[in-house]
Symmetry: C2
Subunit: 199 residues, 2 copies
């Protein structure tokens, strides 16, 4: 059996600090932080929240083909960075609007995943589309309402999207269930993305 493809190197991101920021433990702190060597500004870095949703219209799931890196050309569920001044529910609704021009109503919390390697907490809701008028937003090449049997497992953008779809499927018909968290076993190892066993 050949070794699996390693996850892609984390690309340089717009919020990565410049070279003249240095690692130092600020007074009253217990951890190294990045401090601007010119003005002493302490650049605290904390995990970022990604909010999204598995949005359904009848029995179909809203998916979007990414028009931007990382993973341009791969399929995802509407999700993105939460902004200041909004709630997690509002962030998920805004992302559905921005990426798929979709109007959604939040049902309930489906899952919360920690992706420690890249400093993210991903919050995924179950949601209903209010109508079937969806179209690509600026970050999407294409959007589609996809039947379960047609999910393009090998073409999913991120392992957490495999997790969210699998957990959504398990949650069907359930009203009161504990929000899912990081899976274990086969489902934990979804790089590269593929259809999980038993689904």
């Amino acid at each position: 059996m050949s070794a699996p493809t390693p996850p892609p190197e984390r690309p340089r991101l717009p919020w990565d600090p410049p070279e003249h920021f240095e690692k130092r433990v600020p007074d009253g702190d217990s951890r190294e932080r990045l401090v601007c060597g010119r003005c002493e500004f302490i650049h605290y870095q904390n995990p970022k929240v990604v909010a999204g949703a598995v949005c359904t219209w009848k029995d179909k799931i809203l998916m979007a083909k990414r028009a931007i890196e990382p993973r341009k050309g791969f399929w995802t569920l509407p999700a993105g960075y939460m902004e200041l001044g909004e709630t997690t529910e509002q962030a998920a609704q805004r992302e559905a609007k921005e990426e798929a021009c979709a109007d959604i109503e939040i049902d309930r919390l489906l899952a919360m995943y920690s992706v420690a390697r890249i400093g993210q907490v991903q919050i995924m809701y179950r949601a209903r589309l209010l109508n079937e008028n969806v179209s690509p937003g600026i970050e999407s090449e294409e959007v589609a309402l996809v039947a379960w049997k047609d999910i393009p497992w090998d073409q999913l953008a991120f392992p957490t999207m495999v997790w969210a779809l699998a957990h959504f499927h398990k949650s069907r018909g359930q009203k009161d269930f504990s929000a899912y968290s990081n899976p274990t076993g086969d489902l934990a190892k979804m790089w590269p993305p593929r259809k999980p066993q038993g689904l």
Copy 2:
């Protein structure tokens, strides 16, 4: 009836940017961000995650009296800012250790609250103490295992701690329940903190 005390002004925080950062919409972005006027570093500000837990030993709840501002001298549940490289569960466990020298085991997600005004997502777990050896960490003046009838409602530090305690109480004995989110009605208005109606 006199007007309620307004919430305290948000104090200047260590990660607040210096005066020479200016508001500007960076290329390829759609929102104003703070940009360093000297080196063009874009200071993206996103909501921060606070993780904590309602930790029980038999029927008592672990609480800590804050030794630091904001709300020094008031009582709280162990909770604090999530750091890079950890999961939300690990963050809640670390905070219980740091604030109350407590070893805990996570049961399940109790609640997730958005506090948009201060850019926080607060994630609260239900957890069990592994033993009753608790003592104040550096950020606490005092810790205690408190019976439900002895909760010092008027002395709680933050409205979200009232929410978490009320939701914990509702969740007693339940295994599968949807994680709670921001409350509505009387419970939404817990500044200043006090015992909610009907509890």
